[in-house]
Symmetry: C2
Subunit: 348 residues, 2 copies
Amino acid sequence: MTTIRDVATAAGVSRATAARVLSNPELVAETTRLRVLEVVQRLGYSRNSVAASLRTTRTGRIIVTVPDISNPFFSRVIRGVEEAAQEAGYAVLLGDTRNEREREEQYAEMLNRREADGIIFLGHRLPTTLARVLDRDGSRAPIVNGCEFTPSLGVSSAHIDNAGAAYEVMDSLYAMGHRDVALVLGPQDSPLTRDRLIGAQRAAEDRGLIGRLVVETGDFSVESGRRAANLLFARTPRPTAIFCFSDEMAIGTIAAARSAQIACPEALSVVGFDDIQMARYVDPPLTTIRQPMAEIGRKTVELLIAILQGRQSAPVSATLPHRLIIRQSVGAGPFARAASTGPTDERS
Amino acid sequence: MTTIRDVATAAGVSRATAARVLSNPELVAETTRLRVLEVVQRLGYSRNSVAASLRTTRTGRIIVTVPDISNPFFSRVIRGVEEAAQEAGYAVLLGDTRNEREREEQYAEMLNRREADGIIFLGHRLPTTLARVLDRDGSRAPIVNGCEFTPSLGVSSAHIDNAGAAYEVMDSLYAMGHRDVALVLGPQDSPLTRDRLIGAQRAAEDRGLIGRLVVETGDFSVESGRRAANLLFARTPRPTAIFCFSDEMAIGTIAAARSAQIACPEALSVVGFDDIQMARYVDPPLTTIRQPMAEIGRKTVELLIAILQGRQSAPVSATLPHRLIIRQSVGAGPFARAASTGPTDERS
DNA sequence: TTGTAAGCGTTATCAG
DNA sequence: CTGATAACGCTTACAA
């Protein structure tokens, strides 16, 4: 491999000058610069980033860990991360943690080994390795959380208002004449699930219907949605509306309803969360909360870079806008007033 | 940050010994080893991977570029890559190229900068940067292709028998009594599209039906499938079966049929390709070719590591097994014999 | 504007 | 079994 030394020799300059041509060209005289560049071309030289990193203590990389990369919600977020990172001159080191603590720790350890300049974690658990870094460096620690938000961690985060979004969904179901509403939660220990649950419960309380709210738990997957739905179908009274905390679980619920010959939306309304691409293509098209997935990803990168550049004194919580998207999976409930069939459909 | 030097000092040994404890512990006396390890613990030392890489010229990283990470097919493949890489002690540097040549080149350049030990590209274009590496190092160049396969490149690859799979699909459609069959291709310039097209055409020829085979082009996305389907619906005679080269396009086709009030599978049979997770949850569940997505990913890593370890003299083409999965989106065609309704459904 | 030289933190070689 | 020492290839004061 050709090194800067080869370039310097061939161009008849010192290594320092050759290096400068590549990093601070304006410090070098025009003629020498051109000469060096020509040699760089001719020899096909590329800077050895490892050596450069050792010297500068910057890697130009960020680690991103995600619970499950094949989950369409996360893959959109990652796409946003990737784009923003690339624009800012960073490469993305991807880690699929499969929701396993041990893998989360493994990726976190890479930060200590200086394999990357910072880390974005999209799960809700703060690896203990990172907790230590945080203890030591406080809000200057290059750590950002995405999708989830736990104020007590002291970590910057980009997310939506999960409680507010869940409230809106419930409110609209009640307004449509539903009374027996069920929730299908995500993993119990995540703050995201907790926040949405809080929002949903608040809406139920505000209507005096908290006693009729029933709950099942899933793990965001289609299969878990199907299972939860089947359990709900067996209950008396059977819910007339099911609000799932992910679109995939909602799709599982619709599939379960189809198998059980329960017409959707006539006999059962279903609401999802996220607005993944498939949401509009399933039958019936899914009413859901649209999360700005790519934006969340971009924002986490922005937050991280602010820390890396030293312009961030305290943790930031960035709440991005969500939106209730009404499609055909929600119909009037048994208590609907004759005239009102609820908000008009929105197509997009 | 604490360095190996700090550890050595604190443990009262030389840097060399301290380093050995971490990399070749068996060369160090038990007592010193334990002493050093205790210090490592106490000081919370982690090896600086940048310095180590500079010395060893290994990074422990591999670059993986993918045309679109939010495509569910690719995200599954990546998951396989990620798993296999992690098991082998490699980290994955992810690149979403959005099918843009320039981005492909950018990631390829990272190999020259020694940001990674090797690269796996899942698109079909060999970046010119890599072509140069290949010219220089031949089959020892740490470059592997996945999903696609172009023999002339001289690059190892993991993929399925695309032509064979397409043949099977067509053959089964003809056997079900279809005569007017349409294809919705992927991007025209990809060998994968070309191979599937060849297989499909061969099946048509074998039945003497090549004259009735019609073709539209998409880009694998749901939206492109919908568009292509609408064009096909306008043709005379209208195809009774549409074979899409991706499940997402097939889902778009089903959605288009629903809008156009064409019953599926009664009036229109639809076949996809890949067997993404959603394939079984759409209505009707999709008949498709199952690709071993995670396996393809794992295999590319295996091939790359073989090269990195110097045990690979010539490019390898690994053909992984596919399987035709029959679900409900295919029905009998107008020329079906009364008794036969085709293969029995397979549920899984 | 250019060159000299001192590291960055490891690992590997070679003696002891 | 352990230690001294020389790289790895680059960047950056500092000096000229």
